[in-house]
């Protein structure tokens, strides 16, 4: 089978199931026509590799437990370069090990899907959920000037859906795409509607290394260009691509119509903030949530627009304050931007967030009287 040809399963219909986030993601990958998966076990995402190894005999895809994340990401490079719809997954420490390979793939323009089910760090950290890899995910991660398209799911449903989006966008832009989830999303069970198999089209990959027929020049996938002029050209091309990628920006705004305060939060934290916003409403404070769905591209404009109604912004994250830097860039000094974070695998409670909302609201009252 040529990897560029469609992987056909005995037609799997759309169906609703109760599943763990990690399993929903893996099942969605199978239905998306994924052709190869290479990974290395790490909590809290080992279910993904386990799910694939269990399902593989029923389907026609490659699954391989590599000897390390280093090897896994380079197998992804090889398979993606050969034209396959390929993915890997890991959690924070493993994703750090993959950064070299991801940088090479960004430069050689090899599409693939990488899933980071984050855990608390730095270092070996904890297996509890965290969002401490935001900088790594959105600002490059490895060496050199490159970006990944980053999707941030907030439900088991989105764990499944974003696999389809991820593969589609990876092919469209010839780039690695990252799904930035966390341990809670990976482990929680929710109802999920799984799309039917065969619904994600395959595109031609004339650049893939599949063996050179007499009819074309050889295909070379490389990130090495010794002449600085050529290397700059490659960089300019990548930056053009990242500019085009801005059109893929996705976010949602939930809550009060003309909010006096806006919370910006992604992933699991966004769900907690929604609870806090309900509690605030009972206390007469009009708060809206802006949830970035793509972390790169980041919804700067959408946040900037909200500065006309909101008097303050609050960013809530499970880290020491990473996305808040992008929120500050978007707000551009027009309004105060506050931050509430928990670290090391601790999850903020709705009450924690409510307390922040109330404190900000009080401050606003005292400064306006």
């Amino acid at each position: 089978m040529e990897p560029t040809s469609q992987r056909v399963d005995s037609s799997t219909q759309a169906e609703t199931r109760l599943m763990k986030g990690n399993e929903a993601l893996a099942e969605a990958a199978i239905r998306s026509g994924m052709q190869a998966y290479f990974g290395y076990p790490i909590t809290p995402q080992s279910e993904i590799l386990e799910y694939f190894t269990a399902e593989a005999p029923k389907h026609n895809f490659v699954v391989l437990q590599a000897e390390s994340e280093l090897a896994a990401i380079n197998m992804v490079y090889g398979a993606g370069g050969a034209g396959a719809r390929v993915m890997t997954s890991s959690s924070s420490p493993g994703i750090s090990l993959m950064q070299e390979g991801i940088s090479y793939m960004a430069s050689a323009e090899i599409p693939c899907l990488v899933v980071n089910v984050q855990r608390g760090g730095p270092g070996l950290g904890t297996i509890q959920p965290a969002q401490g890899d935001y900088f790594q995910a959105t600002k490059g991660g490895g060496h050199g000037d490159y970006r990944l398209l980053v999707l941030a799911p907030a439900s088991v449903q989105e764990m499944a859906d974003f696999v389809f989006d991820g593969f589609r966008l990876a092919d469209k832009y010839r780039t690695p795409v990252l799904i930035l989830a966390d341990g809670a999303l990976g482990q929680m069970m929710e109802k999920v509607v799984l799309p039917p198999s065969g619904s994600l089209p395959f595109i031609d990959k004339p650049w893939a290394t599949t063996g050179k027929p007499a009819s074309r020049e050889r295909n070379i996938l490389t990130s090495l260009h010794m002449e600085p002029e050529k290397m700059e050209e490659i960089n300019v091309k990548l930056q053009d691509k990242y500019r085009k990628m801005q059109q893929e920006v996705r976010y949602e705004v939930i809550g009060a119509e003309n909010p006096e305060m806006v919370i910006v939060a992604f992933g699991l934290t966004a769900r907690i903030c929604l609870k806090a916003i309900e509690l605030a409403k009972e206390r007469g404070i009009k708060v809206a949530l802006l949830r970035p769905i793509t972390l790169y591209p980041f919804p700067y404009d959408a946040i900037a627009r909200l500065t006309s109604t909101a008097y303050a912004f609050l960013t809530v994250e499970m880290n020491a304050g990473q996305m808040v830097e992008d929120v500050r860039l978007a707000v551009n000094g027009k309004r105060p931007v506050y931050f509430k974070g928990r670290m090391g695998g601790m999850i903020p409670s709705p009450e924690d967030v409510l307390l922040e909302i109330e404190t900000i609201a009080e401050k606003q009252q005292t400064t306006t009287v």
């Binding site: 490659v62 380079n74 090889g78 398979a79 063996g211 490389t222």
Partner: protein
């Protein structure tokens, strides 16, 4: 056999196979890399498998192998060539896949990938150029540098208490059940080149059998890194490397 050379009245005694591009090689005079490239590409041409072959270039002096080898190629990160080759072969099981790696690449930074690729018995050919030095970065110690060898990072000679011992990685992979065919060859004489060619041919013939990894070490030279003339370098190689890395088969298929 196809040929890129245009025919004229004279008898052709040497022609460039279509699998080699018409590009002057950047290797230093007397360097073994160019010879191995040529032999490898001759075999691919003679077997008529150019359209079904994918190569993986390493980081090392042969990083630009894809400028000369006229087959589809991927450039791997330093040490990761066999992982990249694994990825290719797993999704293109009917294609011929090879990696081409130096000693630093295969036996230092990529040791883990090397052992596990062979241990899985990936159905690929790994070509390992052992020149006992890091050629590309200017002559530093390699895992295969011999005891006493002076390099830019062992200015007083390699000492086992400080730098460990020369790593005989080929002997190591021979022990792995995934290894199907393991041989050690050289390219310093015409006879040696012929033997290497046979080994490469055999490896590509074995590949469709899906019986495991074929591994060819080429004991080679690095006149520039060793700071010797090509003639001195080959003499030094025979005197110092061959006793440690004896030429010959280490593992041959039981019956074929």
């Amino acid at each position: 056999m196809e040929s890129a050379a245009t025919t004229n009245h004279m008898e052709i005694v040497y022609e460039r196979p279509v699998t080699l591009t018409d590009t002057p090689m950047h290797y230093c005079p007397g360097c073994g890399h160019g010879v191995v490239h040529r032999v490898l590409m001759e075999v691919i041409n003679e077997m008529g498998i150019q359209d079904r072959t994918v190569g993986v270039a390493p980081v090392g002096c042969s990083v630009f192998a894809y400028n000369y080898m006229n087959v589809d190629m991927q450039e791997a990160a330093h040490g990761r060539a066999s992982a990249v080759a694994t990825g290719i072969k797993r999704v293109l099981p009917e294609k011929y896949v090879y990696s081409y790696q130096g000693d630093g690449d295969l036996a230092a930074i990529g040791t883990g990938e090397t052992i596990h690729t062979v241990n899985r018995g990936e159905n690929i050919l790994m070509i390992f150029i052992n020149n006992a030095i890091y050629g590309m970065t200017g002559g530093q110690m390699a895992p295969t540098s011999i005891l006493g060898q002076v390099t830019s990072t062992t200015p007083y000679g390699r000492k086992s208490d400080l730098n460990g011992f020369p790593l005989k990685i080929t002997d190591l992979v021979t022990q792995l059940p995934g290894a199907y065919y393991v041989t050690r060859q050289s390219v310093h004489t015409a006879a040696a080149v012929r033997k290497l060619k046979k080994a490469i041919e055999a490896s590509f013939k074995y590949q469709p059998l899906k019986k495991g990894t074929c591994f060819i070490e080429v004991v080679s030279n690095c006149p520039s890194g060793w700071k010797m003339t090509p003639i001195e370098a080959n003499a030094w190689m025979e005197k110092n490397m061959f006793p440690l890395y004896p030429i010959g088969d280490l593992k041959v298929p039981k019956q074929n």
